[in-house]
Symmetry: C2
Subunit: 194 residues, 2 copies
């Protein structure tokens, strides 16, 4: 059983990780103390150390939890057959990147994720690659007739939307604006058959 | 006469600014000395101080020169009537962002520009807005029939391409790859009339 699976199966540990997102997001890695996370989570400091031997490991587990939940939320939307192709792609990118847009805390968290390479290694990059592969395969498998052809693949459509969305995550004032920009892009590349 | 116009008309000053790009790009703002720039430009240190009273002002003028040249190069490509619509847009974005891709020095310069807000204020952002407006107007005026309609404007096409290109500027291994990604995106949104 991997560590990730254990996180999912231990609700107390999972609750601490969700609480820690807010604390790290607000104060950053340096200024966050184990004491502050324990207090916010309503457990004792020794109790927290029993789960995580140091702040570094708590931080890694917290960020992995954030990224893992986003990846799964994306997969749920992509598997939802009640959504149209366009609506599914919008919902998937919104599940993946939308949580970093609406509030100052969400933006702080985004900052933290994008600039934590020294501390998280390739974790953020690896999750991005996984999300790109998931979305690419989904588009290749479910694109309406006429959207793709021999030389323009699901990967091309994914690369365009994903790359633009990464910029829009930082430049959209609201999550609605973010979703709207993706929706309009899909309209541009996905015209009704002429 | 504005400072910018004076830069253009004083070839000695312009040559110093072009030299300074390489020095700041390689060593960053902190580790670059006026002495090093003077030496690289083949002028005396007092001579450099006659042109720029301090390193801060030399830096601002250097970065403004970089951004101004990129904007003008973009405008030249957009005005070139011998290019197809797609080729013109690829050339314009390549002129604007391509110079930050190919070499380690180019990437360092990109880092410097994107992270100099405390030192350059809104300069980088302002140039981006200007380039977006230029490209948006060009697309609205020259888009082939069928690309735009009432609800999908030149601004939408620009926003999609420009935002994706900003990401690709950082994630493309070569300038050729960068251009190819833009070219393929244009093929996706600009199908031959069906």
């Amino acid at each position: 059983m991997s560590n990730t699976e254990m996180d999912v199966e231990d609700p107390k540990r999972a609750a601490v990780l969700v609480t820690a997102v807010g604390v790290f997001g607000r104060y950053g890695f340096q200024k966050t103390s184990m004491e502050a996370v324990a207090r916010a989570a309503g457990i004792s400091r020794p109790g927290l150390y029993l789960m995580f031997p140091n702040k570094e490991q708590l931080y890694r587990a917290t960020m992995q939890g954030v990224l893992e939940r986003a990846q799964r939320a994306m997969e749920v939307h992509l598997a939802d057959r009640s959504l149209s192709f366009d609506a599914g792609v919008v919902a998937a990118l919104d599940a993946l990147m939308g949580p970093y847009i609406d509030t100052p805390l969400a933006r702080d968290l985004n900052e933290l994720l994008e600039n934590s390479e020294p501390r998280l290694g390739s974790m953020f990059h690896d999750y991005q690659e996984r999300a790109r592969a998931t979305l690419s395969a989904h588009i290749a498998a479910t694109a309406p007739p006429g959207l793709l052809h021999a030389d323009l693949t699901g990967h091309d459509v994914m690369d365009l939307l994903f790359s633009a969305a990464l910029t829009w995550k930082s430049t959209s004032a609201t999550r609605d604006e973010f979703r709207d920009r993706i929706r309009r892009s899909l309209q541009l590349i996905h015209r009704p058959a002429g």
